[in-house]
Symmetry: C2
Subunit: 191 residues, 2 copies
């Protein structure tokens, strides 16, 4: 999606450790009109006609997934990290390694909010090695629900998470795929 690539080049920064910072419009400060454009692009790609649930992980995926929920008129549920007292028993759980936080975290989702009849679209702001998305796929499987696709705003293609999922036949649609940040220069994959 050219508009997103342009925005990444204009406002994004490459930090040491191949961290790509796009927090001015995607995952710290949120630009609502731009977020809506991203959601509309997902709607062009995915067949949403029988998707019943949008699934994401806290925290940074929530904003984009909420915009998608509003645009598509489909409910959204987000997996929480670790243990909060406000969630009763009856949880799906998946332990993942967080690249951002450099530690293991457990994604939890109340069994109340994802059922075997659900057709699920996973949405997240970022994918690198794809650990969070793997946790979400695991939760979809635990629920016996059907995964319809995965929509990502920014994929770090050079970390391989997205391609590994595509090789499994999963429809992973990333609006921008960064294939290199060598010398601080962002190179996008032609799509």
């Amino acid at each position: 999606m050219k508009r997103l690539e342009d925005r990444i080049l204009k406002d994004g920064k490459v930090l040491p450790g191949d961290i790509i910072k796009v927090d001015g419009f995607l995952n710290h400060r949120v630009d609502p009109a731009f977020m809506r454009e991203l959601a509309q692009e997902f709607a062009r790609h995915f067949d949403l006609s029988d998707v019943t649930m949008i699934l994401t992980a806290e925290a940074s995926g929530i904003a984009l997934a909420t915009v998608c929920a509003l645009e598509f008129g489909i409910p959204m549920v987000f997996a929480k990290k670790a243990k909060s007292d406000n969630i009763e028993g009856g949880l799906y759980k998946s332990e993942i390694v967080s690249y951002t936080y450099k530690k293991n975290v457990t994604l939890i989702l109340s069994k109340e909010w994802l059922k075997s009849t659900d057709k699920v679209l996973i949405i997240d702001d970022f994918m690198a090695r794809g650990m969070a998305v793997h946790g979400l796929i695991d939760i979809v499987k635990q629920a016996g629900a059907e995964l319809r696709g995965i929509g990502i705003a920014v994929e770090k293609g050079f970390q391989g998470g997205g391609d590994a999922l595509r090789e499994q036949g999963i429809d992973v649609y990333s609006l921008a795929i960064i294939d290199s940040t060598e010398n601080g220069t962002i190179q996008f994959r032609k799509q």
Copy 2:
């Protein structure tokens, strides 16, 4: 807001420890159409004409604040909890005690995204003792920005956080105020 009170009575649960669980539509699973109604009610109450930024705290405030950002056409920024490697220096920081997580957490916000010229509306899904909101107010002060008001979906009135802020002359508008959960029965404050 009667529609919210009705929804809390219909779908909410009172758990031990005066925890009010409304995660079926507000802060775990998100009902987009209903969220939009909440945002529209905030718009009726607050003068949004010169509000430049919506501020919330991760994670559960993000969904409602995002809906408000979309409805109002105003950017949103969320304070993050603790340290992520993806945030550079130049942070506002405020340490708070989290009632939900029963420990100290530090709210952080990049100085890039909140300036002294900003007029801020704080939005959150829940307020009990108001610790998270106090941290957000602290951040607004650190930025030298102007606080225009605080919009809360569900306030636990009996824990006093909202009233303490109102006594300071802050416009705290909660769409539902629960004044008692005695014997598991939810009693709302007449507004």
